[in-house]
Amino acid sequence: MRHLTAELAEVWRFRALFLQLVRRDLKVRYKNSKLGFVWSIAPPLMQVACITFAFKNATTFAANFDSYSAYVLAAMIPWTYFQTAVLDSSQSILMMYGVIRKVYMPREIIPLATSVSNFIHFAMSWLVFFAYLVFYLRAPLLPTLIWFPVLVLAQFFLVTAASLVVSCLNVFYEDVKYIVTVLFNLGLFVLPIMYLPEQVLHSPTMRSLWGGWAARIYMWNPLAVLISGYRKCMLEAPHPSVLGGNAAAPFDPGSVLAILGVSFVALVLSYVFFNARKWRFVERP
């Protein structure tokens, strides 16, 4: 632990470079088009629109579900953040390879900067969500909204942890980014983005599979917990008819605190993992 705090002090010493790297990431991201931020949030919004179109027309649950689009958007924003941050960080160290071969810097600031610049974009994306919620859907702001910052913080820890591990592995193994891309394609269906986790938990197949354990394991996925938490703290529960007559489980602060703890532990462990390998990134005779 002492060792880790010394490494963090070194990161703090290089904060000017860290801020420049964050600025660079944001500038490059918003520079390639005149519309900047608006353009870069368009893809997830279009995805939400298409999912809403497909599910509203093809499924009965979505057809009866008034705020279905808000539910999809509340899942798509955190999911897009997770994906882009981890994918960007997988390339981040290799992009700076020519520099770290010649100049000293604490190498963790490279994936950390990618994680933070994506976090800033993520935070701004929620403004679009709240605008949609308040001005278009005219939905009330729930008191459980005070848990929203805790969820955001937990997700920042989780994304940074994944970024550290993936950026480090990608230096040594060139296929990491392809594996990650494939997993992300699966995530869109496995995670409760287009549907509600209760539909999985209540489904007769899942309840009987492995003596009920399959459903339990499904909710061990930290991203599923986060997505479910975001929705429940911001949006009113769907009408029981959406869930075949069952009421949705209420917002559970315990699960939010649990995910915060799990994400923090993941962050510490991934930092240990990164530090054990960071000196080998450029070592070639």
Binding site: A16, L19, L21, R24, V99, R101, K102, V103, P285
Partner: protein
């Protein structure tokens, strides 16, 4: 050495061993498959006990044939590698000259790249802004070049990137400048400016450590030459003596002089 000033760079018993993997698993798939067949590891001792002191104001050239450990030595002074054993002590800020503007981003303008690159070399934003005009003037002395500073870097030629990179590095005003074979950048006029800048550094008492195969350059710039062979210091002394001995050395080193890089 008692009574002399504190050295800028001090290497004591410095060793560096690389662990090479034959049949390196370049992919996660291959790494998983090779769990049952652990790769054969080879240890290569690149530096085998270097003791060296470089005083403030000295310009020291490191020569030696390819694979003698010159670049490894420079990387250890830059703290890019961790020593296997021994110690590297550096007094003062170190600025390495990067090759070809590594660290530049093609989508950012020249101005934005100067800020980023300056930060990489340890400058704060205010320091960069204070030096900005001087950096641009040094890199682009012609007005048709200077007006490109507000356009994205992908519009720059390689020569322009090199000029800008060199200019930022020398403007960071380090106590110690590390140069790895990049002194000869740009056209003849710019090379001349680089040598002038090096001379100015020397006059101001800065320490310069550089690696070169170009003996003309070494004779012109260095006060002292360290000749590395197989990871140990073979000779260390005044430029003329060591370069003369190095040039007449028969065998592989003569080949290395003929084909730098």
């Amino acid at each position: 050495m008692s009574g002399s000033p504190k050295p800028s760079i001090r290497l004591a018993g410095l060793r560096k061993t690389f662990v090479l993997q034959h049949r390196h698993a370049g992919s996660l798939k291959a790494a998983m498959l090779s769990i049952f067949r652990p790769p054969r590891l080879e240890r290569r001792e690149v530096l085998r006990g270097i003791d060296l002191e470089i005083l403030p104001g000295e310009t020291v050239a490191v020569v030696g044939r390819n694979g003698s450990g010159k670049s490894t030595l420079l990387s250890l002074v830059a703290r890019v590698y961790k020593p296997t054993s021994g110690e590297v002590t550096v007094n003062g800020t170190v600025a390495p000259l990067l090759e070809l503007g590594a660290g530049f981003h093609p989508d950012l303008t020249g101005v934005e790249n100067v800020e980023l690159y300056g930060a990489i070399l340890g400058l704060g934003r205010r320091e960069i802004q204070a030096q900005f005009d001087s950096i641009v003037r040094f890199a682009f002395d012609r007005p048709d070049l200077a007006e490109k500073i507000d356009t994205p870097l992908r519009n720059y030629s390689d020569g322009m990137k090199m000029r800008l990179g060199f200019s930022i590095a020398v403007h960071t005003d380090p106590a110690i400048l590390l140069v790895d074979e990049v002194l000869a950048v740009g056209d003849e006029a710019f090379q001349h400016k680089c040598l002038d800048k090096i001379a100015e550094f020397q006059e101001r008492g800065k320490t310069i450590l550089f690696v070169s195969h170009d003996m003309v350059m070494v004779r012109r710039v260095a006060h002292r030459v360290v000749w590395l062979q197989d990871g140990v210091v073979l000779r260390d002394g005044p430029t003329a003596d060591v370069v003369d001995a190095y040039m007449v050395e028969p065998g592989p080193s003569a080949v290395a002089v003929a084909s730098p890089g």
